[in-house]
Symmetry: D2
């Protein structure tokens, strides 16, 4: 079996604009278990959008972008439903930027022969495949962007902004999250930026330029994100998966205090996850637990225990079709750093 026989069927990203989940979510509201949780999560996201003065933070961990939800995030930004993003490096670089360069994700199977895949330079994410040779092009593109920049410490946000600028000239697919956020002044933070395809490119850059080079300062990320929280005051969190992005955005409340500025806890919070809260890890910690830390208020919070590709499209489509974003203020938080 050859590579082109394995990489045959591309993953296509769901279009929440074309699919109207309002009737289904309205029915789920009066059911039980995960269906009701899904409807209540949609209601809380809708409240964030309707609350004048509320900044919406989207966090993305896991592989939903590879798994068919990439356009959901893009459409949310274009519809002014999201004001800032905190994500894993993989979501932003290996998946979104990667597709912006013209590459694709492919449908595979979790029962694959991983040796066969290895021999064909195919990487597997559960039931989804990536062409590793294309991923190397992505790594090297990051390296080239770094080579072109003034050598100094950057926040991941600054670097991702440069990636967005690069895409305005070079992208093969125009509708990437990196480019759309650049154009809409929605800042993207990846607090563990090196832990991704970007890391390979940047390590190569530093290896080639041992003295003077770009570095990625995650402290700067934290400071910048906290500045947004301090400016925004009222805020809501829409969290896909957990991980570093979840913890990072929650911690901005405490970080503001550390800088001497009291800000309100995050007023709204939704998390979609399959994680199990009993191991005490951040990814799985409940939002009620977060309230003990003074990070998240408990009036409007909902954990949805589900694999996100199955419920995120329902939630996002619901809020999209309710349409309150049409009259919503644009924050363009990226501008405060210029």
């Amino acid at each position: 079996m050859k590579k082109k026989d394995i990489l045959k069927e591309v993953v296509k990203h769901i279009d929440i604009k074309k699919i109207n989940s309002v009737p289904i979510v309205d029915a789920m509201r009066d059911m039980s278990f995960t269906s009701r949780d899904t409807a209540e999560a949609a209601d809380i996201l809708n409240k964030m959008i309707r609350d004048k003065g509320c900044t919406v933070f989207l966090t993305i961990a896991g592989s939903t972008s590879a798994g068919g939800c990439m356009q959901v995030y893009v459409d949310m930004v274009k519809a002014n439903m999201v004001d800032a993003i905190v994500a894993t490096g993989a979501s932003i670089v290996d998946m979104d930027f990667f597709e912006a360069l013209g590459f694709k994700h492919y449908k595979g199977t979790p029962y694959a022969d991983d040796k066969l895949l290895r021999n064909n330079y195919i990487d597997r994410i559960y039931d989804t495949y990536i062409d590793e040779e294309e991923l190397q092009v992505c790594d090297m593109t990051i390296g080239k962007i770094a080579d072109s920049l003034e050598p100094r410490p950057y926040s991941s946000r600054e670097f991702i902004r440069e990636m967005g600028k690069y895409l305005t000239k070079k992208s093969k697919k125009k509708d990437s999250l990196v480019q759309v956020c650049y154009e809409h002044n929605v800042p993207i933070f990846c607090p563990a930026f090196s832990d991704s395809s970007a890391g390979f490119g940047l390590v190569r850059h530093q290896w080639d330029h041992p003295e003077k080079h770009v570095s990625i300062d995650s402290v700067k990320d934290f400071l910048e994100l906290t500045k947004i929280k301090m400016a925004a005051k009222t805020s809501g969190l829409f969290m896909i998966g957990g991980g570093v992005p979840k913890n990072f955005i929650q911690d901005t409340v405490i970080c503001s205090e550390v800088l001497g500025k009291d800000v309100p806890m995050h007023k709204y919070a939704v998390q979609i996850t399959v994680a199990d809260p009993r191991d005490g890890a951040c990814s799985s910690s409940t939002l009620k637990e977060a309230s003990s830390w003074g990070k998240v208020d408990t009036v409007y919070e909902k954990m949805v225990y589900a694999e996100a590709t199955s419920v995120l499209p329902l939630i996002a489509s619901y809020v999209y079709h309710k349409g309150y974003w049409k009259t919503r203020k644009k924050y363009e938080w990226a501008k405060i750093f210029e």
Copy 2:
């Protein structure tokens, strides 16, 4: 807080006829993870319906009937999408028969004060409440039906048929699964029938009639269900949760062999579950594992790892709106026992 203040909002059952999930499921087919699994499960159920000569077995474990999916099952039977049912006693008696008597399930919260509920005779299923006094009426109704029958061993199917007959005269809600199956000659089996509200009524019946009484013979259940499999030959399984119903229907293939009649493995199989396969329990065992036992074929099988209320409506609505049931043969397997 009084009972009537706690039991205020009723659970309403989703109507797959009114909600058209075809566009969403069609989009999910080209995504990854649980969304793709959901679409593939819908496709397999659709294949079962289209396969002339295929008997569809529905199994129900867990609390989806209480949790807003009760009408899904009723509509599937009315649309001739299901030919026989294997279920837990709770799904059939405590939930479906209970609502047929005019009672309701109520929306609650998993963070309830269980002592307060206890003091108000309110029973909790995660985020759903039941009035225990109403449940006692249900228990006693079962006892009365038993009192009215000839004392001898019955299969659960025979007894549930009597419950259906009772409802044709006494039901307050006409559209119950027990009554609709009675009317459409779709047999219902509860292999662990006593493990439910029915158990209380039947124990009371035997206590009051120590010498001559109705007994429930689960061996007879197994024999009858195997007779259907032997008559049906080609079969597909649509399984909500696992438990005894899952194991029971799978075992009919082996049981036929034991009776000297070779039958084909179940040709199609879908299971929706949150169970974790790593503990070796039947509920969570994969369908691939079942194939080692010679129970289930592996060409058309799909595990959907999701809480069922979130994906079952999508799957059932999809197959309903594809409409292949309209020209499907009626099996009326209940008739072979008359």
Copy 3:
């Protein structure tokens, strides 16, 4: 690859008498998460044993007996730590009775080629194998026992007692749970008895004797188990997995009420499970939830979220080596049915 090459390494059952977990459990008591839960579960089981007048019910669901814990249950009965058992049919017949006949379980792998296994008549439980031809001998032995009995309805307890009697003459392995319980007058209930190897044998028996035959009356099971609860009054539950056994023993409190005799809720309760409480299924329902039903008291209850083979040996060894069973009263509840 031939059958004898696949079935090479036998599963050996852990011996809690030889392994002293007291130091480990004592350390776990001051840790967090599952380790502390494990220690607290051991403490509650120990309390049950020390509480004069407390009857201990053991429930077994899942495949721990096949997976190396079979001797744990036997040793608990021999050490007078268990007074009655409620189990799945598979645990008692396919696993325990099966090994009593001289057969074994084998170490396998979850990554097996299930087609290869099928062709060799090897059945797989996750990473454990069974010789299907041996299992058929087990089925048929049940059939022969049924053939030898007076035709009438039996509780599963009565039938399992006959299996114990059979083993006193015919067993190849003396230390089976079925035989040891027979000898110690510890009753075993399988409320879904037919859902096991026993079912095949009994169906064959009824098929061969269509007019007069043994039937298994699960109502009788429920009545008998409730009679023990009514006689025992104070009780504790030690539950491995969930399923029908968990629900059945919990329901005896309610069933006593139905028969006009108020009994106390189960005073102690431990459950070891990997199930997820969010689907509203009984297997996964928390013990706090059970308290809303008036089944289980909440002073001494503990859910241990773990795959049981990893923590059950620690808990059982701890209580064994604490030694309070040495002076404990013997209840021999089986005698009340004679």
Copy 4:
């Protein structure tokens, strides 16, 4: 209820030196499911220790350090069973460094009233409590260390080394991982260092010194860690939880290629996790999946699906008491950066 009444019972860390798990693990090897996986994981860790020339990387994510396993890691380092560590910032700073400063974790309950905790400045991790005021001291200590350093980009390893040096003078508890690793030249990497208590201190430092300040360059982390992998060649991974540490260490194989030096895949790999592989997230991705990326070899790999506090002590104690570390070579990888 006052703070001192809530923070009463301290979490005590298990001592693998005093507890000998060899008999239990030896028994588990012939069982099934998680018990056998646990034994096989212990065997693989033992192989890493015995393999002359193999560098052992320990990764730590989640809250096991707070939850009673802190001393396990320290003892592994002191016994020369670990050559480099990749961890979350929280494990190293909020938990380990925090206790080095003389503070404690406390036993709590997952059913806490989080509002009450909030009002008392108590932070909750599932069933474990932390005094937030003590945590602020920890934050500020990091800030002071940063203030004392030359302003330039640091890898997290460099900064944590400074923390170790600080502790040699100021620690109240001598046996911390940070200090012991400093003394044994075992480098610690936190690729998402700011996502922790350290972040607060460092943000404060940069806020106070806007022009010239310490920054944390995660690219440098990746480069340094890759240099160790390139020097080490043969390597084994012992991973507690997943997250960024898991991904980061796995990626060093690819990163070496990017730098033009082919290195072997990680030869051994063990991961203990409760994560569910079906969401495509890195934390939960199987080691077989990692082999498709060319990161991990599949001959000696084992996923143990368990909450780590319940099985890590068994595994670590087993390898400790087997004693092969006594004659093992010391790598002191920290020295290559000096």
